[in-house]
């Protein structure tokens, strides 16, 4: 198991390095000069040149990259070109907010998606199955933006039972924090729940039709035990895979959700940074996201190994 983790970690580091190169040069391949954005309407050529010099944009790209890598390795992401605050400070402010949102959305998705998936599989072909499948179809089809606006207008404007927007740190007021996170988490979690529901249903149907389930039933085990302990456990490999793969969708969904609910998270930061060609922030955001992906995939791999010993054995044999 130790060798398995070590091998996966080494591969992850290489991917992170390649990602840093792609991010750095990819960002600079975008059309649009950050100096033009910073200098505003009345920019003179002298001011543009000064801004490019100030942010090191007038140096050769390889030199800029080496400096950037050196900075990043020392934990310094530079300063935001928009408000000149340290990027690391901005990330530390923003990342926990999106993580909280993603965690709550995931919770919503697991409760609704896995629950509905199990029910749909057990009640296959009956009303509950059609309702769950219908929910899945709607959840997948409805865009976050529209659903978010609808939720704001319904719960905040019409019913006035939840706030329309804003964020209060958990440390400041846990109750208000959760109250403000309900709508965004529901909106973000709905689409994710639909995916989970479909995958859980499909995996459960496969397991329920297996020989070992028939054997378990013939041994006289209760239905709840067969479903809850045997079939569900074996379906979880699929669910965990989907959880990992969908993290990206969750973060990209957060981009839109945070815009609608005015949550100062990672998603909103990403959009703002791209629109203002804020290179240091874009680089940091993408790099942290890539590393987040890598870590989650690593955890998924390790979890596979724990759930299914054949995975780590095969990894060791072919390693």
């Amino acid at each position: 198991m130790g060798w398995f983790v070590l091998r996966r970690t080494g591969a992850a580091l290489i991917v992170a390095l390649i990602a840093s190169v792609l991010v750095f040069f990819g960002v600079r391949a975008l059309p649009g000069d950050p100096a033009v954005v910073l200098a505003g309407e009345g920019a003179t050529p002298e001011l543009l040149a000064q801004i490019r010099h100030q942010y090191g944009l007038d140096r050769p790209l390889p030199v800029q990259y080496v400096d950037y890598l050196r900075q990043v390795l020392s934990g310094d992401f530079g300063r935001s070109t928009q408000d000149r605050l340290p990027v690391s400070q901005i990330l530390l402010e923003r990342l926990p907010i999106t993580l909280e949102l993603a965690l709550l959305a995931m919770l919503v998705a697991i409760v609704i998606g896995v629950g509905a998936g199990i029910v749909a599989a057990i009640r296959r072909g009956r009303a509950a199955d059609y309702v769950a499948t219908g929910f899945g179809l709607i959840g997948l089809s409805v865009p976050h933006f529209w659903l978010g606006l609808l939720a704001v207008l319904f719960f905040a404007v019409q019913l006035k039972i939840l706030p329309a927007s804003g964020y209060v740190p958990f440390s400041e007021d846990p109750g208000e924090n959760l109250r403000r996170m309900i709508l965004p988490a529901l909106v973000l979690g709905t689409g994710f729940a639909a995916v989970l529901m479909r995958q859980t249903r499909s995996a459960m149907l496969g397991q329920l039709a297996s020989d070992y389930v028939r054997t378990a039933r013939s041994k006289g085990l209760s239905g709840a035990r067969v479903v809850g302990v045997h079939a569900l456990r074996n379906s979880l490999t699929t669910v965990v895979t989907v959880l990992g793969l969908q993290l990206g969708a969750l973060i990209s969904g957060a981009v839109v959700t945070e815009q609608i609910f005015v949550i100062p998270g990672f998603g909103k930061l990403t959009i703002d940074a791209v629109l203002t060609r804020n290179y240091p922030v874009i680089q940091a955001v993408v790099l942290v996201t890539v590393i987040g992906y890598i870590v989650v995939n690593l955890l998924v791999d390790v979890t596979y190994g724990l759930l299914n010993p054949r995975v780590r054995l095969s990894g060791a044999r072919h390693g």
Partner: protein, 537 residues
């Protein structure tokens, strides 16, 4: 019963949500009467309270020397007063200065008397030394965005604690207007010494409110200052500026009560707020303009020598005239903006004293446009690629232009482009036509100089006409208003003969407020001033 209520609420909500998704376009609704031009709600206000104010963009660093965003000016209005300000009639009035600037006969010496007994929000005195420190910083700091604005100032001297004298290298009429903007925001020397280049992270000036905190990309908090010279008139305890870039979201938050003030409501939201007694609308703006710039001479970039662009519109002034004649400004205003903007063909605001009162805009004349096209000998349809910002309202504007120009023989292809990219293309001359505007300045010089003068960094069409250059430069060097008006009239007429910039309209800004908020001042510059604002008594 509960189900019925749910359905009823849903029935009300869905159409609103659907309307929300059609962001910015006027839809098929008929044009409506613009709201009365209220710039101030004079109801008495009580002391205390916090208001949430939505800004439409994230300001850059709050350092008056380097700041460039419009929304930054909105925050500065609460925390950084200027030597001069404008009033509701666009007249320049003293703010931290005690009187209008005294200009010497040769126009090269300007003496400014200051208010006395004024403190910065850190408790240190605002005096002539502080003014010199600020102006020198603005003039000399390497990354100062104010250097060109104060380019005529060659020296700043302290005459006495309440008087500064500016020596100019040339007479410069727009100076007072520049000092009524960021160049005239006086910063605390103590804070400058303490923070240096990071002043923008903790700005300290003279203002009715003082800076408290900023969460990047999210909010800026300011609170009532107990050092302000006029603190008795300040009623609010705190203002939280929230960054909400989407106009639908701003409108929804204003409706839900999460916001008390939302700036720049979309024109398609205006009728609903106008009709709802729970809200009030203040109307500002008018300084800015929007138009279509045709690339005639910008062959390789605004910083390169102009040539003739090898396109039908670039080569033929008659075709550019035909393109302009094919457009109907009033219809554009009605169809795209519910008739809420001001259709115009002039870069100066409608009420500017520097406009030629006799000047009128050309009306749509398709027959004449067709004649000009036929006379040009260019086979129709004539292809034109129009760059527009990728946003629903700009798309709609582009489609209307496309439809109108088609009748005259132009095949307009719309190219929606992200804003920063489109600016890049405009500066580098890689465009046929671009829909672009200017946020506007109080002094006319700021609305033409650099925009239509030879080599101007915002002169996207590459215009290079000595008549225009001479008139604009002479107008900046004289303080005789009648003479200035004549010169600007000459310059604008010369531009109109070239048909490089087709001015279309002046934007109006709609500031939505909760019904119980009063005392906000909202003028042509589109900057809400909260010094006297509060909850209605």
């Amino acid at each position: 019963m509960r189900t019925r209520k749910f359905i009823a609420v849903l029935a009300m909500t869905v159409p609103i949500a659907l309307a929300g998704c059609s962001s910015g376009s006027g839809g098929a609704s008929p044009s409506i009467a613009p709201p009365a031009g209220a710039t101030f709600d004079a109801r008495p206000v009580k002391a205390g309270g916090t208001i949430n104010v939505a800004l439409s963009q994230d300001p850059d660093a709050l350092d008056p020397t380097t700041a460039n965003t419009f929304v930054g000016r909105e925050v500065f209005a609460s925390i950084c007063e200027k030597l001069y300000d404008i009033d509701e009639n666009l007249k320049i009035v003293p703010q931290l200065a005690a009187a209008a600037p005294e200009v010497s006969a040769d126009g090269k010496t300007v003496t400014i008397k200051l208010r006395t007994g004024v403190l910065f929000n850190d408790g240190t005195p605002m005096d002539a030394t502080a003014v010199k420190k600020t102006l020198d910083r603005n003039r000399t700091k390497a990354d100062s965005a104010r250097r060109s604005e104060l380019g005529a100032v060659s020296d700043v001297a302290v005459v006495d604690p309440s008087t500064v004298r500016l020596t100019l290298s040339r007479p410069f009429a727009p100076l007072a207007a520049q000092l009524a903007d960021r160049a005239g925001m006086i910063m605390s020397p103590a804070a400058l010494a303490a923070e240096g280049d990071n002043f923008g992270a903790k700005p300290v000036c003279v203002g009715p409110f003082s800076f408290v905190s900023r969460t990047s990309g999210s909010e800026i908090v300011v609170q009532k200052s107990d050092k302000y010279y006029n603190k008795d008139q300040v009623k609010l305890d705190k203002i939280v500026y929230k960054i909400i870039t989407d106009s639908n979201v701003r409108a929804a938050n204003l409706r839900s009560g999460d916001l008390q003030v939302a700036e720049r409501l979309a024109t398609n939201d205006v009728p609903a707020f106008q009709a709802d007694s729970k809200f009030k609308l203040l109307v500002g703006g008018g300084l800015s303009y929007q138009g279509i710039t045709l690339n005639a001479f910008n062959v390789a970039g605004t910083d390169k020598a102009p040539g003739t662009v090898n396109t039908p519109l670039g080569k033929s002034v008659q075709l550019r005239e035909a393109f302009e004649l094919s457009l109907d400004r009033d219809t554009i205003n009605k169809v795209v903006f519910n008739g809420l903007y001001e259709a115009d063909c002039n870069p100066l605001p409608m009420n500017s004293p520097y406009r030629d009162p006799a000047a009128t805009c050309t009306k749509r004349d398709v027959a004449k446009a067709k004649q000009l096209v036929a006379a040009s000998g260019v086979p129709t349809p004539i292809p034109v690629t129009l760059l527009i910002t990728a946003a629903p309202v700009n798309q709609r504007l582009g489609e209307v232009v496309q439809g109108m120009a088609k009748e005259a023989g132009f095949d307009v292809k719309l190219q929606p482009t992200e804003f920063v990219t489109s600016l890049d293309q405009a500066k580098s001359g890689k465009f046929d036509a671009i829909q672009v505007g200017w946020s506007g300045r109080v002094d006319p010089d700021g609305n033409v100089n650099d925009l239509i003068t030879t080599g101007g960094s915002n002169n996207y069409s590459g215009l290079h006409d000595p008549r225009i250059d001479d008139a604009i430069h002479q107008a900046a060097a004289t303080t005789d208003d009648t003479k200035r008006r004549e010169l600007y009239t000459t310059a604008i007429k010369a531009q109109q003969e070239q048909h490089c910039v087709i001015y279309l309209y002046h934007e109006r800004y709609f500031l939505g407020t909760a019904g119980d908020i009063a005392g906000i001042r909202y003028y042509a510059d589109g900057i809400p001033r909260f010094a006297t604002a509060g909850f209605a008594a």
